[in-house]
Amino acid sequence: MLELQNINKYYNPGTVNEMCLFHDFSVKIQDGEFVSVVGSNGSGKTSMLNIICGSIPLDSGNVLIHHEDITNMPEFKRQRKIGRVYQNPSMGTCPNMTILENMSLADNKGKSFNLLRGTNKKRIEFYRDNLRTLNLGLEDKMNVPVGSLSGGQRQAMALLMSTMTPIEFLILDEHTAALDPKTAELIMELTNKIVTEKKLTTIMVTHNLRYAVEYGNRLIMMHQGKAIIDEAGDKKKSMRIDDILSKFNEISIECGN
């Protein structure tokens, strides 16, 4: 279980631009949940992910994983249990390293990066089988630098790499936003497949309302640092895009735009 307790987060504290994003924000995410998070720009979606991962500091509040307080744990240590895929496809891979080298790196997560050979030859077939599931032909380009692949191919690899070793939480930060509609569809299906197969607790931030409705078993809509919609189970299943859209319109009117 992942918990955010009484989170307070200010941006630019002590200046005229001071902005309170989260005021006493709390949320609990149960094991096995696949949460879609929607909301307008600046509503706190990505900040929430950054707080969970430890990428940005908190003003107050606690982050807990399985009741263990990890608020002061540095970002890199938290990542042992977390896999993260970013909006920018180049953030999840090393462009100057080959596909094989990238897969080897990902495979070694959680283990020691010592002076043994970087690529374990016995694992190459395993990587190849993994890549084959993507249906992108990457299994035949093992020695090609990842930088020469397309954004979609890189994002597929990033997804594969972030979920290769046993993790508990998968954090998806608008991971289909930079892709063309067809590739986005492909990555989304792949995501769902991996999440279901590996039974990962997942938080997916997306601007695509259809994905938010179609995938996952819980939906949260953020607005000004609060969850204004939070539905799970059957209620989530019965939600339609129009429901979310009308809520969007409602808050937009409140804001006066």
């Binding site: 890199f76 990542q79 180049s90 999840g92 891979t93 100057n96 990066f113 050979r117």
Partner: protein, 297 residues
């Protein structure tokens, strides 16, 4: 005539090989870590000062080189700590260490020191006995060749280990290193240590080759290293061999260019001017700087 040409080639190779070791270190920081590390201007003479003083104290010249490497590595580690832990900009961290080392090097060596008549890795009783006098002119270049090949293979080998993969990853995309649950700062510190170890070793070898230590040998070391890396990796961009080989060839080509400039009538006091001009020409021709500036903007 032939003899003169051979002599020239050998002296270019000798100089080239010494600076190639330095260039391998700069390759780690500049190309792999993407870290403009100026501390080599201090760690190169540091290695020299340490080697000279140890040899004067009667230490085995090979052991002295190990200490040269170690001293450079420690200084590099300090640059890394200043950058990572105290969050000082990369360029400034290097400048701080470089500046501090100038005084430290003078403290260690106490000024310019000569080790003529002392045993070095190039001149010792063993070689006197084994190698006929007619081959004396080839001893240095051969030893340097063996050292540079050894260091190159060592570096190639390291870059292919898990730890080496991580080093390459941190310069390529540091977010990925964090995602792998590894401390990217620590990886950078390790990289800077290795790189400056190479610079220290190069300085130690340089002083043993020339037979003296001079505080000014470090000035411009970074430029020579950078020029070698950029020449090598650009000329041999499409070559089939490894970039480390390209860097070694780059150092030799650079030294050949300097020799040509001197042969054309430039004086040795013009050295730095030649260096700066060559470096500028190389940067403009290779387009290297412009690309980097753009991607970082």
């Amino acid at each position: 005539m032939l003899e003169i040409i051979i002599e020239i080639i050998i002296s270019i190779l000798e100089e080239g090989f010494v600076y190639a070791i330095l260039a391998l270190g700069v390759y780690i920081t500049y190309k792999i870590l993407d870290f403009p590390d100026l501390s080599v201007d201090g760690t190169f003479p540091l290695g020299g000062a340490v080697a000279v003083m140890l040899i004067l104290a009667g230490v085995n010249p090979i052991a002295a080189l190990f200490v040269s490497f170690l001293s450079g590595a420690i200084a590099g580690m300090i640059t890394g700590i200043i950058h990572v832990k105290f969050k000082v900009r990369d360029l400034l961290s290097g400048i701080i260490v470089m500046t501090a080392l100038y005084s430290i090097n003078l403290r260690i060596a106490g000024g310019n020191v000569s080790i003529f008549s002392k045993q070095t890795i190039f001149e010792n009783k063993l070689f006197d006995r084994l190698i006929p006098d007619t081959l004396d002119g080839y001893i240095k270049v051969t030893i340097l060749f063996v050292i540079i090949i050894f260091m190159k293979l060592l570096l190639d080998g390291y870059l292919n280990t898990k730890s080496g993969y991580l080093l390459r990853a941190v310069g390529d995309n540091e977010h990925l290193v964090t995602s792998l649950a590894k401390d990217k700062g620590l990886v950078k510190i390790i990289g800077l240590s290795i790189a400056n170890g190479f610079a220290g070793l190069a300085g130690g070898i340089y002083s043993q080759k020339s037979g003296f230590f001079e505080i000014s040998t470090g000035t411009g070391a970074i430029v020579i290293g950078l020029a070698s890396v950029i020449i090598g990796t650009n000329i041999f961009r499409k070559a089939r061999f490894k970039p480390t080989t390209a860097v070694i060839l780059g150092a030799v080509i650079y030294k050949a260019c300097v020799w040509i400039a001197i042969a054309l009538g430039m004086e040795s006091r013009d050295m730095k001017l030649i260096t700066a001009t060559l470096f500028l020409v190389i940067l403009v021709l290779s387009n290297d700087r412009r690309r980097r500036v753009k991607t970082n903007a």
